[in-house]
Symmetry: C2
Subunit: 350 residues, 2 copies
């Protein structure tokens, strides 16, 4: 576990002491944040705007591995994945509430590192930390974050608005976060077998950063607004392209065709996949944790994005009866299946 040199026990400070120490550094910046930490509840004022709210829980040993992920990165990622859900509604995150359970294996300094990562992500996205809970656990770290955002009523984009002939688009590139995880797992295994061997992470910077420090795509939401495009449907890619495309199809009551050759995959990801004997397309379809945005637009909007390197048109929406299909590079058609990573398959350690 990454830990600072000074070690203060949480029991020395107590819950109130820790909250006091933490909140001294926290300032509110958004007009919708009326009051933050320090009362029974935070007070927000969204005036005529709609409120968008999402929550995610990360559990050590299931979603978090402290052997390779620095605590600050864990905090940053925990906040980012929630912001990503807000952007996926075409809304802007404004506040978060953070609940953390830690065992006494963690020092005050370690817990502060987690919060530093969260606050860094908040600053990047102009989000206020307005509440939360800090408690002990009998084993391991649990982080539960609720993010609140805002949008004008007619700006909000649901999963359910895709229509036949809409174009299916994705931001950035896919599969890299999953391949970053494979490299980290490989080096962890080598280290376990022989702790003297230094981890060999050279050349993997991009895919490691995609895994350890994903960026929620605020820039994409802003670009779409600049281009005067309101997607007909949108979702963020947390469980893999296939799973998310199926979500859009089911919610919108449509089918889709995705062209394998159009799926954007970074060269580092392709090379890594090849080295590990993995199919890059499968990594993009089922890997997950890319936190890119998958969305549909009307055909006339194609002209506005076609030359922008942030966007890839990977297919189109079809009739429901056609199902969700992948058209391979060789022209074969196969039904997409959701093989998103399922946290329930993890075994209990007791």
């Amino acid at each position: 576990m990454a830990d600072s040199i000074k070690r203060t026990e949480l029991s020395e400070l107590g819950e109130f002491g820790f909250i006091k120490r933490l909140t001294q550094k926290i300032k509110l910046g958004n007009t919708s944040s009326v009051t933050g930490i320090g009362d029974d509840a935070a007070v927000l004022d969204y005036k005529e705007k709609q409120v968008v709210i999402t929550t995610d829980m990360l559990v050590e040993g299931v979603h978090l591995d402290l052997t390779y992920a620095p605590l600050k990165h864990i905090g940053y990622k925990a906040a980012s994945v929630n912001f990503s859900d807000i952007y996926a509604m075409n809304a802007h995150p404004k506040q978060i509430l953070v609940s953390i359970a830690v065992s006494n294996r963690f020092s005050v300094e370690a817990l502060e590192e987690v919060y530093e990562g969260i606050v860094l992500a908040c600053n990047t996205h102009q989000v206020d930390l307005v509440g939360g809970d800090t408690t002990s656990s009998l084993s391991g770290l649990v982080i539960s974050i609720t993010a609140v955002g805002e949008a004008e009523k007619d700006e909000i984009v649901y999963r359910s608005g895709a229509e036949e002939h809409d174009l299916l688009c994705v931001s950035g590139d896919l599969g890299a976060a999953y391949l970053g995880l494979q490299i980290l797992e490989r080096e962890k295994q080598i280290f376990k077998d022989n702790p003297k061997i230094q981890p060999d992470l050279e050349g993997y910077d991009y895919i490691l950063e995609r895994q350890l420090k994903p960026e929620a795509r605020k820039d994409i939401i802003q670009l779409l607004k600049e281009f005067n495009i309101k997607p007909s449907s949108m979702i963020d890619i947390s469980d893999g392209l296939a799973s998310e495309a199926i979500h859009i199809c089911q919610s919108s009551n449509v089918g889709c065709s995705i062209y394998e050759e159009k799926i954007p995959i970074d060269p580092t990801a392709i090379n890594t996949a090849n080295k590990l004997n993995l199919d890059p397309t499968m990594c993009a379809l089922s890997g997950g944790e890319d936190y890119e945005l998958l969305f549909t637009i009307k055909q006339p909007d194609f002209e506005k994005i076609k030359d922008n390197p942030h966007f890839s048109v990977i297919g189109h929406i079809t009739d429901k009866n056609a199902g969700a299909q992948l058209i391979s590079k060789g022209g074969h058609q196969t039904e997409l299946t959701a093989q998103g990573w399922d946290a329930f398959l993890t075994k209990e350690k007791e």
Copy 2:
């Protein structure tokens, strides 16, 4: 662990399967709930009202003991304590988001019992379940709930509004939840020593219910409105009267005098305290988990509540320099100290 006869493994259903099974039963009832579960985030519309938001995390072995608390009660309590925080702002809860981590020791049916308790509390308080996260943990149950409520801007009551000469009031009675816990702990110990002995819980119904199934005091908020009283400050009693009175004093920059003889304690609680060689007043001051409301009112409002059995005037607000004082039945004055239950004192089990 209380479990149903049929046992379905969570891994059989998977996360999406469980969410589908769960959400089939969930309906939205509040006009502010635009959309609930089923997208990247829920959408709420509070129009001109202010939004009040709070979050709490409960961890097995720290806040939850499955040896005596039925799973349905655990869910009910987890929701209620969050509603209590919203009422403490003089606001009304309207939505919750529920994140639960469970180990595979829990069946689908067990997890559904937790949700049933949550939904029962939601129905009692007219709250919509609009989002959440269900995941696995390597050990034990973790429940993180975020509650969202509404109030007109000028209705919200903070901890910080108490002024000298205001009357300090409390709803219901105090100390019973703590004493209920002592009885449960006693019987657990007896059971551990000899599993053949049946638990002796007769006559303790009231204090056991106060511990296992606390009710958030919506009725008090409604009564205050009927009486046309807006408290100058308010907080809910989760950590004990002393700790909460000190919170009001610190936030409002005032002192207070609490009269021991005025603290409402139920006869069952007094009898139980005496049997266990505990001081009933100490149980009220430091026991916690009563989820009653502690609030201050202006002196002219006294006439409106003085004959109402739901309210007790237990003291008054003084100058800051006087500190927070307890005046004993014998007339002695002692400074209140916050001995609220501190979750960080729990040892890690690994």
